[in-house]
Symmetry: C2
C-alpha cells in the first residue's frame, strides 16, 4: 500500500507515481496513458498517501495549532469553529488545546506544538508565557496572538478594543442614570482584563464616583465564586449597577441575585454576549465582541505571515458593539 509497491507493481519508478498522484503529470510531461494506468491502479487498490511521510519530506504538516483557555466556553468555542472554517479553504487542519489558564500546562502544550512542526500557531497566551512566546518568535514559526496581547512584545495580534469598549460600557450605565457602579472582574493581570478595568477606573474617576471592584481568580469553583460575589454585594449596599469584565461572571452574579431573592434590581452590563442574555428577565445588556470577525482576521493574519514570512507584524483591533437591552435601562 505504499508508493513503492505501486511503482513495483506497475514497473515504473516511485517518482513517476508520485508526480502523477500529485497532479504533476502534465508538467513532468508524463504520457497520458501511463498517467491513467497509474491513477486507475491507485483507485483500484484505494491507495492513500501517508500524510506523515509527505509532511516529513515536504516540511509541511498542513496543520495549524490553536491554543485557547477553554475550548468549551462560549467565547473560545465559537471562535474555534470559525477559525476552522476559515482555515479549511487553505487545506489546514486544527490541532487544539485548552490551557485552562494554567501556566505549566500552557508551556507544555506550546512546546509540544512547536515540536510537531506545525505550520502556524494561533495563541491566546496564558499569564507568564511571555518568555516562551519571545523564544518562539525567534524560531520563525508563523504566529498570531489573539484575545490577550502580550505587552512589550511585537507580534501579530488580533483583539478587541478592550479599554475603549469598557469606557463606553460604563459611560452607558452612567448615562442611563445609574450612579454607583461596581465592577466584577477576574485575574486582573491579564492584559485584556486590565484594559477593561482601566476603562472602568477612568470613567468612574472622571465622575468622581466611588469605585467598588471585586476581583476573582480564574479557576474558582462556582460555589466559591458565588459566595464571594454575595459577600461583595452585601458589603456594598450602595451599588445600583454592576459591570462585568466577562460574561460568566455576570451569569454567576445572576445566580447569586436569584438565590438572594431580594427584589433589588441592579443595572447590569457584561463584557461578551451570551446566547441567553436576551431571554433573561430583564434581558442583559452587553459589549459584544464580533467573534466571527475576530476569527476571520486571525486567519487572514496567519495566512499573510505564512505566505510572506518577512512581512511586518500586523495588529488588528476589532471594535466591540454595545448591545443595549433591558438590564441597563
Amino acid at each position: 500500500m505504499s508508493i513503492n509497491e505501486i511503482a513495483k507493481h506497475l514497473k515504473v519508478s516511485k517518482s513517476t507515481v508520485s508526480l502523477v498522484i500529485n497532479g504533476k503529470a502534465e508538467q513532468a510531461r508524463i504520457s497520458q496513458s501511463l498517467a491513467k494506468r497509474i491513477l486507475d491502479y491507485v483507485e483500484e487498490i484505494g491507495y492513500k498517501p501517508n500524510a506523515l511521510a509527505k509532511s516529513l519530506a515536504t516540511g509541511r504538516s498542513n496543520t495549524i495549532g490553536l491554543i485557547v483557555e477553554n475550548i468549551g466556553d462560549s467565547f473560545f468555542g465559537p471562535i474555534a469553529l470559525y477559525i476552522e472554517e476559515y482555515l479549511r479553504p487553505y487545506g489546514y487542519h486544527v490541532l487544539y488545546s485548552s490551557t485552562l489558564g494554567d501556566l505549566d500546562l500552557a508551556r507544555t502544550i506550546l512546546t509540544a506544538m512547536v515540536d510537531k512542526k506545525l505550520e502556524g500557531l494561533i495563541l491566546a497566551p496564558a499569564m507568564g508565557q511571555e518568555d516562551q512566546v519571545l523564544q518562539l518568535l525567534g524560531s520563525k514559526t508563523p504566529l498570531v496572538i489573539f484575545d490577550r496581547r502580550i505587552p512589550q512584545i511585537p507580534t501579530n495580534y488580533v483583539g478587541t478594543d478592550n479599554y475603549t469598549a469598557s469606557k463606553k460600557a460604563v459611560e452607558h450605565l452612567l448615562d442611563r442614570g445609574f450612579s454607583e457602579i461596581g465592577m466584577i472582574t477576574i485575574d486582573s493581570e491579564q492584559p485584556q482584563m486590565r484594559d477593561r478595568l482601566r476603562g472602568y477606573h477612568e470613567i468612574v474617576e472622571l465622575q468622581q464616583k466611588e469605585k467598588s471592584i471585586l476581583t476573582l481568580p480564574y479557576r474558582m469553583v462556582l460555589a466559591e465564586r458565588m459566595e464571594s460575589i454575595k459577600q461583595f454585594l452585601v458589603d456594598n449596599p450602595q451599588l445600583d449597577a454592576l459591570y462585568f469584565s466577562t460574561n460568566y461572571l455576570c451569569v454567576s452574579t445572576l445566580k447569586v441575585v436569584q438565590s438572594l431573592q431580594k427584589d433589588k434590581a441592579y443595572g447590569m452590563l457584561s463584557f461578551d454576549d451570551h446566547e441567553l442574555f436576551e431571554l433573561l428577565n430583564p434581558t442583559v445588556s452587553c459589549m459584544r465582541q464580533p467573534l466571527e470577525a475576530i476569527a476571520k482576521e486571525v486567519v487572514t493574519t496567519l495566512m499573510t505571515q505564512i505566505n510572506n514570512p518577512d512581512a511586518a507584524f500586523r495588529e488588528t483591533i476589532i471594535p466591540s458593539d454595545l448591545v443595549i437591552r433591558h438590564s441597563s435601562q
Copy 2:
C-alpha cells in the same frame, strides 16, 4: 539542530544520541559519562526532536482525531474539553474538526484524518457516513463512535439512553398535569433524535393523546427556524406543553414565545441542559446528559482498544438525569 548534527559535533553516532535522548542509555549500556555529555549538549543547544520524523519512524503520531458536529456548541464544546483532559495523561493531542452536519464535509474530514495516520478516532458521525465508517473499521484504526450510534454496525459506542430518557421526560410532563404535549425536534433521521422521538411517540400513544410534532432541518438560519416554530404554535393552540429534542430548539422557542408576548405559559422540558436554563423565568427543566462521564468513557473505551486491538467492541449507555425546574411544574 538535528540528531545528526549532534552526533557529528560530539563525534558519536546517531543511534547513540537517539538512545540517550530516549532514556535508553541504561539498557543499551552506554557509559554514564557519554550519556551525560550528550544530554548536556542537547540541553545547551536546546535541541528538540522533530516529532514528525519520530512519528514516521515509530508509526505513532500521538494524536487522536475528534470529529463532532460543532465544536462551538454547548454539547460538543465541553465534551471536547473533557476529552482533551482525559487524553492528556496518555500523552495524546487532539486534532478536531466540525462537520456542521454536512455529509460531504464529514467524509472529507474523516478521510483526511485517516490519511494522517492518527492513533485513534473519536467520531460523532454525520448521517450517511455509515459506509465510510464500515470501511474504516476494516482498517483497524481504533475508533469510538459517540452521541449517535450507527445502527447495524457494531462498533465501540458511548451515548446516553435516548429512548428511555425521552420516555421519562414525556411521562414527567404528563405527571405534572400537562395533557397536550407537542414535540419539537430536528433532522429525525439521526439515530439519537429518532430514539428521542420514539420515546415521545410511545408515551403519548399510551395515553391516547394527540401527537403534534414539528421537525426542523439542522442548519436552518435562526429567523427561519423561529418562523416555523411560531407557525407550529399558532397551528396547535391546544398545546399546553412542549418537549424539545435538544436545547437550542428550546432556546429558539423561548425567543419565539418572548416575541409573541402572549401570556400563555407552556410547560417545557428540553433534552440537554443549558448553562442559563436555571436563570430563566421560569427556570427550564431538562434531561441532562452527563457530559464529563460521556467524555471519560469515550477515552477509556478508546484506550482499551488501542492497548488491545482485538478486544470486543464495547458499548456504553450512560443514563441522563431528569432535572426538574419550574417550567414543568
